[in-house]
Every structure is written in structure tokens, then in C-alpha cells.
């Protein structure tokens, strides 16, 4: 039940893996995931392959990340979300802010 980050220097991509339940209990862990983002980073990928469910506080955390990093020129994607989680993202029109892939 953790958040795992991995920075790929070649692809200049930070990947944030969210395991299990993505809700308010992850506020701090999620913020820490991008706190020391590498200077060279160009893309942040949030991998939801192992996310069981998400709620609106998780949506808030995702938007808050974009706000916190607004000064940096970054692109964002949400990857591999399961159908029921993808539905939440779709209802919330997150495709406007993240590339959903």
C-alpha cells in the first residue's frame, strides 16, 4: 500500500505508481512523490495499474500536483487505469488536464 516513484533520466520521465486505494490517506505520500523532482524532468506519468479505486480527494491531489509544478514546463499522463477508475477520470473530464493512456 505504497507510492513508488521512479525517475528515468533518459526519457526524462518521473513515474509515480499508486498501489491499492488512492484516497486522502495518500495526501502526504503523493506530495512527497514529486517534491524533489529532477531539474531535467519533462514528463510526469501517474501509473494507476495497481490502483483499486480513487475518490475526489485523489483527483484533487492530481490537480494540486499540476498547480504546485506550474512553473515547470512539464507534460502529464495517467497510465493503465482500470475500467472503473478510468470511468471516474472520464466523468471528471480529466482528459482535459492529463493525457489518459
Amino acid at each position: 500500500m505504497d507510492i513508488i516513484t521512479n525517475y528515468d533520466a533518459q526519457r526524462k520521465t518521473l513515474t509515480i505508481d499508486v498501489d491499492g486505494k488512492f484516497d486522502f490517506s495518500k495526501v502526504e505520500d503523493f506530495r512527497n512523490a514529486y517534491a524533489d523532482l529532477d531539474e531535467s524532468a519533462q514528463h510526469v506519468a501517474v501509473n494507476l495499474a495497481r490502483t483499486e479505486y480513487m475518490d475526489s480527494s485523489a483527483l484533487g491531489m492530481l490537480l494540486n500536483m499540476q498547480k504546485a509544478l506550474a512553473e515547470r514546463k512539464l507534460t502529464y499522463s495517467i497510465d493503465n487505469s482500470r475500467p472503473q477508475v478510468a470511468k471516474i477520470l472520464k466523468i471528471s473530464r480529466f482528459d482535459k488536464k492529463f493525457e489518459i493512456r
Binding site: 513508488i4 521512479n6 513515474t15 505508481d17 486505494k21 484516497d23 486522502f24 490517506s25 495526501v27 502526504e28 506530495r31 501509473n47 495499474a49 495497481r50 483499486e52 479505486y53 480513487m54 475518490d55 475526489s56 480527494s57 483527483l59 484533487g60 491531489m61 490537480l63 494540486n64 498547480k67 504546485a68 493503465n80 482500470r82 475500467p83 472503473q84 477508475v85 478510468a86 470511468k87 471516474i88 466523468i91 471528471s92 473530464r93 482535459k96 488536464k97
Partner: protein, 464 residues
Amino acid sequence: MPGNGGNDFATKPFDKHILVAKIRAHLKIRALSQFIEQQNKALRIYQQRVAREHAIVEHIFSHAIVNKPEILAHFDYCLTPAETFNGDLFLCEASPSGGIYFLVGDFTGHGLASAIGALPVTRAFKELSQQGVSIPEFITDLNHVLLQFLPGDMFMAAVVGEINAEGNRVTVWQGGMPATLIPSASDFSFRTLPSRHMALGILEDHELNTDCEIIQLEKNQQLVIYSDGLIESANDNNDMLLEEGLIDLVKMELKEHNYISAASLRERVANYASNEVFDDDVTLVVFTSKPLNIPKNSDFTGLSSTHEVLLEAQHLKQPDILQRVLQLAGNCEGTHGVRSIMYTVLSELFSNALEHGILALDSKLKNDSDGFELYYEQRETLLQQLETGSITIRIASKPAKEEITISVHDSGQGFDWLVDKSANHDDAFGRGLMLVKTLCEKVWFEHNGSKVSCVLNTRNTQLF
């Protein structure tokens, strides 16, 4: 006398030195034969123990790795382990939508050491099949299980797929297995599906690629999946059969019977090989496209249940309290297909009741980045100070009606639920209620907004 079983003799008159030497030599032989006897005894005990342990493990395997006969009947297959235990694995299970999931896997090595990995994989396979997850999710979870259970030098090549209820569309993930063959039903052309990914149990979650192929099958078109043991059989010239060789044999099979039978194809491979016995585990699975008609278990209706949980201040302070409520709800019969959606709804209603009903926090705080964190800090502080207040959560699942009713009642003042506070796209708040309204059939408020109830339809499993 020697002929009567004596080992030596001595003649009179005795030479003292020779006699002593003889006795010494015999003492040595005696000691040696006692030593060998002891070793043999230890070996026999060891053998018996291994045999017994194998029998126990075999028993466990034969009970743990069982495919349902009615699902297995849709496949034509041959499984030939090189030893007692099979490092190859063939699993199939019905999907909730009337289709079939299957897995043909090959662990590194053969024998007991490689077969052991089959246990966690089988377990995960059954659970995932029941949940009706997509193949990419299936792959992600299987990979995770293998990473967790297997030592670093062990992994499983696999073809994992889902056949739809009509039997004419197969979604396949192929990692590290020899090319799956799909002969055309009308001519002798071939489509092959070579390995596209690394085997399972090697890559970390974020490195794993779960891309699948979707194969459309004509009626009676066949899908031939096999492990490398089949094509690595060598003939007298030490030439291995390989994929090209197998394709030739399949073409011969089609010419003669117009149809591939697993037993007959395996026979052709055995005839090619110089050695009748295969060196590696051999698995050959053939699926022929036709509507599956898996009887839906309509006699079975899940149990209705109602859970009511009263959470008082002392409970609300516990950090894992929501998780425990979710777990309770997830165990209700009839909630499987929409578990994740139900979790979202419950989490929204719980957070609303706690943060606004009881702690009276203002969401507007979340408007900027610092405020967002401040909001959750305040939530924590207020929660620790909380002495009174309660939330009652009621979860009623009615599988026969295919619906779940959830209500959450807090001891707070309520709120004006008629005012539409639908969120701006950029705001980091205000989405909760909108989500609940979209996900549920019906949402209504009572007691001045301090009690909210909603009905979730469980039939709606086709999400898009």
C-alpha cells in the same frame, strides 16, 4: 569354508604375523560393510521421505490446480510433463460475462522447483477471473504475484487471453512463448502471434507493457498455443523441429483432416523426434471458434445483506477506519462487479460527512496549492480534538434486484444541498457530490442534508 559363505581360511601351523594381518584386514572389511549398510539405510530413509514429500506435494497440486471440466471441454489439449511435476501450466476459467479466460504458461526449468510457482499463479488466476478484470489488469497482477513469490532467476513465459461469449474474439497477451498459430479456416495461409513481451515475473510494475492483440476468429477457425518443449524435440540429425517445422506438420494435419486435433498433432511431433520421450514439459492447447454457451448460473442468487456501522469519535480518529468500512462493504455478496465504483461512492460520502458534517471544514481552502495541504493538516488537527459526533453508515446489498443502497448519516448540522456547487474544472475541490450523482441511479437527502442515501446499480458492469 569359503564355499559355505566363509570369506577366508587359515591353515595350520599359524604364522602369527600373517594371522594378525588377516584379522586386521577382516576387521577393516567388516567396518566398511557396516558403514555401507548404515549409508544404505540412511539413503532408504531419505528416499522414503522424498517419496512421501512428493506424494504430499502431488496431492496439493492435484487439488489446487484443477480446471472445471465444463470449461476445459471447450479446449482440445495435451499436457506431457517431463517429470512428475509440470513446469508448464494450463488454466481456464469462466468470465462473469459468459466468456473464458485462459493461461498457457511455462516456468523456467522443469520438475518440482519450477512447478511450485504454479500455486500462487493458479490462485491469482481464479480470483482475477471471478472479478472479470481486463487482460492488461490480469497481466499486471500476475506479474506482481510472480515478482513477489519467485526467486530472481525464475519467471514464467505465458500466453494469457480472454475469449468472448460468442467465441469469435480473443484478446491475447503473449510474453516469451513460441508463436501462437492461427491457421486460416478457408485456405492454408497462416497468421502467427509471436512473443511481444518479456516473460512475467521479471519487470517491475512500471516497466511492464500490457499491450494486447485482439484476434477475430471465423467460425471453426483454430488457435494453437504450445510451449517450447513441443518444438524443441530433435530428430536423428539433431535438428530441432522449431516453429517452421511445426507449421509444416500443422499444414499436413489440415490437409489430411481439415482440422487440427491436439493428440494427432502431438503424435506427428513424436514421430519426427528421434527420442520418444520429450526432454522438456510439453503443452499443446487448441481452441476452435464457436459460441461458448456457458450456462449462466441463474439458479444462484447472492445473499441479501445489510450492514450498519456506527462510527463514534473514537472510531473516526483511527487512521484506517475508512479502509475497514470499505472492506466490510467489499465482502457483501453482489458487490463484486462494481467494487471499485462502490468504494469511490462510500469514500465520497464518508469524507463529506466527516470533513463538512462533523469537522465543519471549508472546501474553498483547497483552492491553492498551500491551502490544499493546509486543509488536510486542519482535518488532522480537528480530528484529534474531536470528542463528540458520529457517523452511521448503512450498506444494503440486494443481489436479486442487482442494487446496493448506501446511506450515510452524520450528527452534524447538515447543509443546503439544493445549492449547486458544481466545480470549475481547475478547482481541486467540489467534485465529490458530482461524482456520486453520476455514478448512482438515485441520490437523495434527508434531515436537512445530514443524511444522504444513494442507489448503485450492480448490473452496469459494462462500463463503456
